[in-house]
């Protein structure tokens, strides 16, 4: 709780960026919950490593998740756990020519025909893949 209140103070200081920080905070809380739940189920004393998969379209920033993970995991079984984040690039399909491509930053039109997007195929992933415990 002590750490959470310092996070709150920090967020108030950052004011205009608080919405950005807050997103990673709640997601990292959930991430830690999932990790601890599975660690306890496996009767683990300690979590050594957490393998997380994050799609680029989620907009989550690795450094920010790492920052909150270090803060929130203090005093838990995951305190010393390393966070390994696998990023999944965004992948979409063109409505027009059905080509699959990775959209460029700020330009989501098809590189072949300029068409619009039919479906997002990848990049929305957000899950804990596995944990390493002892």
């Amino acid at each position: 709780m002590r750490y959470l209140s310092s996070v709150a103070v920090l967020m108030r200081r950052m004011d205009a960026f608080s919405w950005f920080l807050m997103h990673e905070l709640s997601v990292t809380e959930q991430l830690l919950n999932v990790v601890l739940e599975h660690a306890r189920k496996a009767s683990a004393k300690q979590v050594l490593k957490v393998n997380v998969v994050i799609g680029d379209l989620t907009g989550f920033v690795n450094e920010s998740i790492q920052f909150y993970f270090d803060l929130l995991s203090k005093g838990t079984e995951a305190e010393k756990a390393g966070l390994a984040i696998a990023r999944i690039p965004s992948r979409v399909r063109c409505r027009n020519c059905k080509k699959e491509f990775q959209p460029a930053e700020g330009d989501w039109s098809c590189p072949l025909c300029g068409g619009l997007i039919e479906e997002v195929l990848g990049g929305r992933e957000l899950y804990v893949e596995s944990i390493e415990v002892e």
Binding site: S26, V27, V34, A39, L48, Y127, V128, E129, S130, V133
Partner: protein
């Protein structure tokens, strides 16, 4: 050392409520459109014009997000479109829970397309540039422009 398979999605509370909202909209066969743009871009105008163009054919509903006022909601209500106003009071956008409250207050069985007029996020940039606004206000008070 032991490796434990987890494969569990990380959903925050907002995602869970958002899923409920999606289920609710689906059960009423409502298409929801989330409108996001900077203040003054024309979100309300687009809704009003769409309402006019589709009058008698498609029934619209609107959730109006605004930081403080209900100017836009009044405009939409004047066009005979069911509207619920949400004042976020400084929050930068509508969260799933606030949208859910609005959904429960709307006549969902009488709506085909629901527009969610979100708060233009750039009111945040206005906060960043408060200093400039302050000096502007000071100039106004001094009688200049």
């Amino acid at each position: 050392m032991k490796k434990v398979e987890v494969i569990t999605p990380i959903l925050n509370a907002n995602d869970l409520v958002a899923q409920e909202n999606q289920g609710l909209l689906k059960s009423y066969q409502i298409m929801a459109v989330n409108l996001m743009a900077s203040p003054g871009a024309g979100k309300t105008s687009l809704i009003l014009k769409t309402g006019k163009a589709l009058k008698g054919r498609v029934r619209l509903g609107v959730v109006e997000g605004d930081v403080a006022s209900r100017i836009d909601a009044d405009k939409v209500a004047a066009a005979d479109i069911p509207v619920i106003q949400i004042n976020t009071g400084g929050e930068c956008h509508l969260e799933a829970l606030t949208v859910q409250k609005a959904l429960k207050a709307l006549p969902l069985s009488e709506i085909d397309i629901l527009f969610i007029e979100n708060v233009g996020k750039s009111h945040l940039s206005r906060r960043i540039s408060t200093r400039r606004n302050d000096s502007h206000r000071r100039r106004q008070r001094a009688g200049g422009r």
